[in-house]
Amino acid sequence: MNIVVCIKQVPDVPNIRMDKERMTIIRDGVESIINPNDCVALDAALDLRGREGGGITVISMGPPQSEEALREALAYGADRAILLTDPVFAGADTLATSHVLARAIGMLDPIPDLILCGTQTIDSDTGHVGPQVAEELNLPMVSNVIEIHLEDGYLTVKRVHDGFLDTIRIKRPALLTISREMHKPRHLSLADLESAFSNQGILRMGHRELGLSPDEVGFSGSATWVQKLHRPPPKRKGEVLTGTPQFLVEEIIRRLEFLSIIDEEGDNE
């Protein structure tokens, strides 16, 4: 079984700080990591390979330093890594990114049975790339999958959607985005880490190798662009009541009842 996992190297978002005057992100000194949801997709791939055998290819579009993320994925157990990197890929929105990924995946030999993606990245949070890649490759797609069962030529998956659990059967090859729920904590063996960084090779492909023209990709190939990135100023609607303690207590109870937070006998809802 041949599985492709799409990964992205992202800044470690919880550690990002804001420049409070300019309301922009300070990226300096923030570590780069594999997008955590992509790690879950890789987990799912490793599980499947454990059950069915086969190979896992990890693929990423990014600047040269994304190689680190790919090597980490190799250390976790992926068999092969491909880095799609080219100065003309810069400034890509999700559409342009998906276009590049889909082109590269379409060129793989052997053809993958399954493509796994995270549901969204922690930096952009769009959730677009999985569905867009599936569209371009004309593959059936299910998102937020929590269980995968393989059959001949088909897949049965369970996914969570708006509080419902759906069981869906689709043809292979297919693309799935994997729910965070499938995460299994894994520890890296130091030997695997050393091996991934010292011994294994990574295939690099640019726009020429993919047969893409510069205006199909990157900023030129994008349909959207980010105008501004900022944290909205906190809006707190607060009201300060004043008066005697007797009055305050009665007024607060009245307000809570009005908001149906407590009912009129004073019990919690």
Binding site: H187, L190, A191, L193, E194, S195, S198
Partner: protein
């Protein structure tokens, strides 16, 4: 978990086993012998990171790797590597380095453990103390001397497995810090071991000791770095959150000075450590450099933890905060694997020899 280890003095064997499966007990041992095949700089980083959380566990890993497993790799025959290095690198057996005795600390050459050759065996007699990892070890490197001629001492290293008849482990020491690491005495009473357990040749003992200590000192430097860095991290966090006189105490000049001094000297210690490891990776001599790293890093570990408690104030003196454990852990770094006084001697000798 680290504070539990300190409070209960229990060595967390389950964690050690998991670390073993991830090759933490074979850091610089080549992959063909079951190790992680890391270079010295990477190994120093691993030890620092573990020590940042638990200095006692960092000590276990550092000593096992640099002065127990590595000497077996460096000086062992292929046969010895198969028999002893494989279980050490896989962590199946934890290793010790037994040089110190009741009457032989810094004056290592006055050790009294004897090894008498009888046919195909050696009979060992002596008392080793302060053996790090001793309480859970499977393989012990014992430093003894043989006497081929009257009055001449040939220092020799022997690999003695813990189950060997005649090897007795004492109770774990009740220590100020590094609690949970099972440091104990190891007594040898007419302990018979096959000649195949001798590491290197008779008379090579001092050479093996000095060579191992070069790597060991880098390990302790890394361990000290971990402790110092932990002290800085918690102190910075505390100083930001603690308000006195209407502002966080991080705005007070005296506190800023402490933090700046800690950070600067920790950085310097780190660079000294990486410089020594880098020389080692390039196969170059690094005796003076590893002594410098160990000396400097251990002293900043003690100073940084002291300043850290000061920054924490009264709360720093309680066990509710980890800084007091870091302070207790740090002190021994100035003592073991060669006291600071010995390190200065080593450095001065290197300068004088020119």
């Amino acid at each position: 978990m680290a504070s539990e280890m300190d409070a209960t003095e229990r060595f967390p064997m389950e964690i050690a086993r998991e670390m073993a499966s991830l090759k933490y007990f074979g850091l610089e041992i080549p992959m063909q012998y079951g190790g992680a095949g890391l270079d010295s700089v990477s190994s120093a980083i691993v030890i620092e990171e573990i020590s940042r959380v638990s200095a006692a566990m960092g000590l276990c890993i550092s000593v096992h790797n640099s002065v127990s497993a590595y000497p077996v790799y460096e000086f062992g025959t292929e046969e010895q590597r198969k028999t002893f290095l494989l279980p050490l690198a896989s962590g199946e057996k934890i290793g010790t380095f037994c040089l110190t005795e009741p009457n032989a600390g810094s004056d290592a050459a006055s050790l009294e453990t004897t090894a008498i050759r009888v046919g195909d065996e050696y009979i060992l007699n002596g008392n080793k103390i302060f053996a790090t990892n001793g309480g859970v070890s499977g393989i012990n490197l014992i430093f003894a001397f043989t006497t081929p001629d009257e009055g001449k001492r040939n220092y020799t290293v022997f690999i003695v497995e813990s189950e060997t008849e005649g090897l007795e482990r004492g109770d774990a020491e009740d220590l100020m810090g590094m609690r949970g690491n099972p440091v104990c005495s190891i007594a040898l009473n007419d302990c018979r071991i096959p000649i195949g357990n001798r590491l290197g040749e008779e008379g090579q003992g001092l050479k093996i000791a000095l060579s191992s200590l070069n790597g060991g000192r880098i390990g302790i430097a890394a361990q000290s770095l971990g402790i110092a860095q932990a002290a800085l991290d918690v102190s910075l966090r505390y100083a930001r959150d603690r308000y006195q006189f209407g502002s966080p105490i991080v705005e007070i000049g005296a506190i800023k000075n402490y933090l700046a001094d800690m950070a600067t000297r920790i950085d310097a210690a780190r660079l000294l450590t990486y410089r020594a490891s880098n020389l080692r990776d390039r196969g170059m001599g690094h005796g003076k450099e590893s002594a410098m790293a160990k000396l400097f890093a251990s002293e900043i570990a003690v100073d940084a933890t002291r300043m850290g408690i000061q920054i924490h104030g009264g709360y720093g003196y309680t066990k509710a905060y980890p800084i007091e454990r870091y302070y207790r852990d740090a002190k021994v770094c100035e003592i073991y694997e060669g006291t600071s006084e010995v390190q200065r001697m080593v450095i001065a000798r290197s300068l004088i020899k020119g």
